[in-house]
């Protein structure tokens, strides 16, 4: 085998800062709890009981958990928006929007190589995203809008029951759609869209972890991802805003085939 030729060394890069990781898991937990309680609220299980209604309150409790979690969901969402402006480059709002030529190129690469499973002939270092790739970034923008819809419709439905100013901010939602029916249907339907997102998201995380071996899964716990040493500037060039990272693959012609990094 030709693999011995290249010594693929990796370096740990701190990609996901602590607030990002906290946000991620708080958000994941909120979505899980909200979806689970939401489905129970939408279609409560059949229970026969000899206890009087005065002696139990479980459905009220489920709704309470749903509403309390909704506030947390909104809270972490606001924190994440804040962090999109003060966090590192992988947390920045810029990393989500495919606005640059490079990002558009990356979208093409991800679609060709990761989604349509084409063979990567170029092996350009820059194609391998360190944070999220451009397609993933765009998918989080979609998720963000789904979350906004859920917050607006959810708090819109909740508003008549609440005198708290946060809920009252959403008093315009039901008049906009005319009735609770429509708002409820949207709230319910978008839950399913978020579930579809979760399926795709979790699968692709496993996919990258399995094929690239750069700690995709564990990075959301530790914050670190493994990046080819070639991609990282030597320390003596590090000062202020250094020139962009080297993009050309360091392989020579005969070395191309084996690259373990070629995911």
């Amino acid at each position: 085998m030709a693999t011995a030729k290249k010594d693929l060394t990796f370096k740990r890069v701190y990609v996901w800062e602590l607030p990002v990781r906290i946000f991620h898991w708080a958000n994941a937990l909120c979505i899980t709890v909200l979806a689970a309680t939401g489905f129970v609220i939408a279609n409560p299980p059949a229970i026969m009981s000899s206890t009087e209604a005065s002696g139990q309150f479980w459905f009220g409790t489920v709704r309470y958990i749903h509403f309390a979690t909704a506030y947390i969901f909104l809270g972490v969402m606001l924190l994440r928006i804040y962090w999109a402006f003060v966090g590192n480059r992988y947390a920045s709002w810029r990393s989500f929007l495919p606005l640059t030529r490079k990002a558009l190129q990356n979208i093409r690469h991800v679609l060709q190589i990761d989604i349509l499973l084409g063979v990567d002939k170029e092996h350009r270092l820059g194609n391998i995203a360190i944070g999220h790739n451009a397609v993933a970034g765009a998918s989080y923008v979609v998720l963000f809008f789904l979350a906004l819809v859920q917050v607006a419709t959810g708090f819109g439905l909740y508003e008549p029951m609440s005198a708290f100013f946060v809920a009252d901010l959403f008093g315009w939602v039901i008049p906009l759609f005319g009735s609770d029916f429509t708002v409820r249907l949207i709230h319910h339907g978008v839950t399913w869209l978020m579930i579809l997102f979760v399926i795709i998201h979790v699968y692709l995380v496993f996919y990258h972890d399995w094929l690239e071996g750069r700690g995709e899964v564990s990075s959301m716990f530790s914050g670190y991802k493994f990046v080819l040493t070639d991609r990282i500037k030597p320390e003596d060039t590090l000062e202020g805003e250094a020139p962009p990272a080297q993009e050309e693959a360091p392989w020579t012609e005969e070395e191309k085939t084996p690259a373990a990094e070629a995911h």
């Binding site: 009220g60 008549p160 005198a163 005319g178 579930i195 996919y207 071996g213």
Partner: protein, 412 residues
């Protein structure tokens, strides 16, 4: 004496306190104004009290009526005197009651409201200037009476509209006296002091506007845009609610406080669900699964058999129907949400979740969601297998490299 309480929270109490004080100020102003007006046209226009007495009601009946109305409007007892005083002094306000695409259930509901004076004072005797169903005149006489009122009381009369207005085929689906409902509405609205949309037809379009809406029926606020319209939805609305809205205007000279959908807050601020006597079963998670099961017999919550109480804003739970006898949920049937926009198309009535149009007959969001999630699950599995095949060389290499490194691990 029946006591109706709308005050359920501190916020409501504060809110009522504010309205009450506003009303008192308003009253003082109006009293002086009315006193002056009374002198000038006392002989021409009767007040509500004069009219009631003339009909053989006692003053005691009148006071009861005033108390009822104040209670329905959610006012405190201290305001009853103000209501009575206004009805004593205010000259009666003419009402033009238009009927377009409707079934007259609103009129029926109104004339059956709790207290006989309601219909007598407001509709039958006093202000029957024009209402096709109940007026004695007919044909050209009826139209002439309407036009006389519109001219004489230009800018003063109350316009009540029952029914939706069809826009299709130039409005020809609903013609009265040879003219379309659109014409009539625009003409009558022009000189109206207040416009009230009675019932779901005039407020939301109701069944005429349900899919596929062959006549292109629309609620009146889609046609009249330059004037405030009080929407009193329901199919029909509760008679006492209708009376409450009119008496409020008659008494205070202002529209009742409205919500964002222009419904009077006193009657539409709460959902049926919030005042439902079966609510404890809901919070306890005790639901009827079908209409003939043990839980239904026990009177458990009808949420799972499609009750729209949690989505419907109305006063059925407090004021109830047929002189406070009952309301649908009390009679064992879930609310169908008749006072909500587009309730006909948000069926089926006996399912919790509305069906999605365009996904087959009565497919719910859950069915569509489950099918899509399952398809996606199959898709990602297929992708995972394909990825392992397509990238087999890379995988083989990286596994080989890893294995080689494993052999070189220093054990010391």
């Amino acid at each position: 004496m029946k006591i109706v309480t709308f005050i359920t929270s501190d916020a409501d109490k504060r809110h009522n306190f504010v309205i009450v004080h506003y009303f008192i100020l308003q009253h003082d102003y109006k009293q002086t104004k009315n006193a002056a007006e009374m002198k000038s046209n006392k002989n021409k226009r009767e007040t509500y009290l004069q009219s009631v007495l003339k009909q053989g009601y006692s003053r005691r009946d009148f006071m009861k009526f005033a108390t009822y109305m104040a209670a329905y409007m959610g006012l405190e007892t201290s305001v009853v005197g103000q209501v009575a005083k206004q009805l004593e002094n205010t000259p009666r306000i003419p009402v033009i009651w238009e009927h377009y695409q409707e079934c007259t259930c609103c009129s029926e509901s109104f004339i059956r409201s709790d207290h006989p004076i309601v219909s007598d004072i407001i509709l039958d005797k006093i202000s029957l200037d024009y209402t096709l169903t109940l007026m004695a005149a007919s044909g050209h006489q009826a139209e002439a009476a309407k036009h006389a009122t519109m001219e004489k009381y230009h800018g003063e009369y109350i316009l009540c509209v029952e029914g939706s207005v069809p826009l299709g085929d130039d409005g020809n689906y609903c013609c009265i006296a040879g003219r379309t409902a659109i014409d009539h509405l625009k003409e009558a609205a022009e000189g109206a002091a207040v416009i009230i949309a009675w019932g779901s037809c005039a407020s939301n379009g109701c069944v005429q506007a349900a899919y596929p809406n062959p006549t292109e029926a629309v609620p009146i606020h889609k046609i009249i845009k330059n004037k405030p319209i009080v929407r009193v939805p329901g199919c029909p609305p509760i008679g006492e609610v209708m009376a409450g809205v009119i008496v409020h205007y008659v008494t205070f000279g202002t529209l009742p406080e409205l919500d964002r959908l222009n419904r009077p807050k006193a009657f539409y601020a709460k959902r049926i669900h919030d005042s439902c006597y079966r609510r404890p079963y809901y919070d306890a998670g005790l639901f009827a699964e079908s209409f003939d099961d043990e839980n239904a017999k026990k009177g458990y919550c009808l949420y799972k058999v499609g009750c729209r109480g949690p989505m419907t804003y109305n006063s059925c739970g407090t004021i109830k129907w047929n002189n406070g006898v009952s309301f649908p949920i009390q009679s064992g049937h879930g609310c169908i949400g008749c006072s909500e926009d587009n309730f006909w198309d948000n069926g089926p009535f006996y399912e919790r979740i509305s069906s999605l149009n365009g996904f087959g007959i009565e497919a719910s969001a859950d069915q569509v969601g489950k099918a899509t999630a399952a398809a996606l699950g199959v898709g990602v599995t297929a992708h995972a297998i394909a990825a392992n095949v397509a990238k087999r060389n890379e995988l083989k290499n990286s596994i080989a490299e890893g294995t080689r490194n494993e052999k070189q691990v220093k054990e010391d």
